[in-house]
Amino acid sequence: MLISWMDYPSNMFESRKASLIAVTVAACLGSNYALIGVANFKVMDLLVFVSGFVFGPMIGASVGILVWTVYGLLNPYGFVPQIWIATMLSESIYGVAGGLLGKSLSAVRLPSNRAGLSILFGATGFLLTLTYDLVTNIAFALTFNVPIIAALIAGIPFAIIHGASNTVLFGICSIPLITVLERSYRGMISWRF
């Protein structure tokens, strides 16, 4: 019965989509745990953004939420429900923004605009990271009864490091990753082909 369900084209598409989300989430989690000792440097944000760019905002947001569902629960730095929810929601911003950018750049051929796109992706990574840090710092302040302004100001150096590392990662790695994923999942990406 499962095989006949899988054979049906629309179900096949859905199951491929589910497996795609699972694989991307696994890649994010693996990179997160591998980089647990390196503060403010995570490949996860890039992977969520790229998944959104290639597969759409819904899948991007799902990847962001699912990664933090696991990573927030099994985190060596501890578990705080309010911050967990805030990180889940704010991580999904990368996926949604990636999806929206992917749709708006659907007519653009990546290899022919490499320099311009690298700058655009780097700047997007920087601005998204600042948004992510803003939301999570506000959640931290509200959770621990810290004045919001003090929490935001104290978080600036970390936000700058986080933003700078994501600028470099997004700027350099986005195009190769997107190119590889588009080649691998050509049939699933409706708007770019």
Binding site: V108, N113, L120, A123, I156, A164
Partner: protein
């Protein structure tokens, strides 16, 4: 997406990111600076500061605040002419227009009141960190030209 080929648009994006990062850092360091200065202000000591011109005129500035003795002197409104000797600190040559005199062997020295009387200050005034309630007197002292022994205040 024509702006991807427009150098100025791309430069504008880079400058926008740089401006945001620089503004954030500026805000952070401004906050750090104001926080530090307000904490330093609260940690200032309150002392009794006096000046003796060596001619019978002694004026007290009780309740003067300062982190170092030099701060307190400026807080009291004194005009201090000092020369910096690097890490050794400031050497005071004149206070309120009264200059040291090598010919008369008169120099500005500072003294702290102790249970045994006046004790000569052991360091440059800008290197001495004040404690609450101290009594410090600047004295236009006579120093013996042969032994360099300094006369304490009366």
């Amino acid at each position: 997406m024509a702006f991807l080929k427009n150098k100025w648009a791309l430069a504008a994006i880079c400058i926008l990111c740089w401006a945001i990062a620089a503004s954030l850092l500026l805000g952070y360091y401004y906050y750090q600076y104001t926080d530090l200065t307000s904490r330093l202000e609260r940690s200032k000591a309150i002392i009794n500061l006096g000046i003796d011109y060596g001619n019978g005129t002694r004026i007290w500035f009780n309740g003067t605040r300062g982190l170092t003795l030099y701060d307190a002197m400026l807080e009291a409104g004194w005009k201090v002419d000092a020369e910096s000797y690097g890490t050794m600190g400031l050497y005071v040559k004149a206070i309120n227009g009264v200059e040291q005199s090598i010919e008369q062997s008169r120099y500005w020295t500072w003294w702290m009141w102790t249970s045994l009387g006046w004790a000569h200050g052991g360091s440059a005034c800008d290197k001495y960190v004040l404690s609450n309630g101290e009594t410090i007197l600047w004295y236009y002292s006579y120093a013996d030209p042969k032994t360099f022994e300094i006369t304490p205040p009366p």
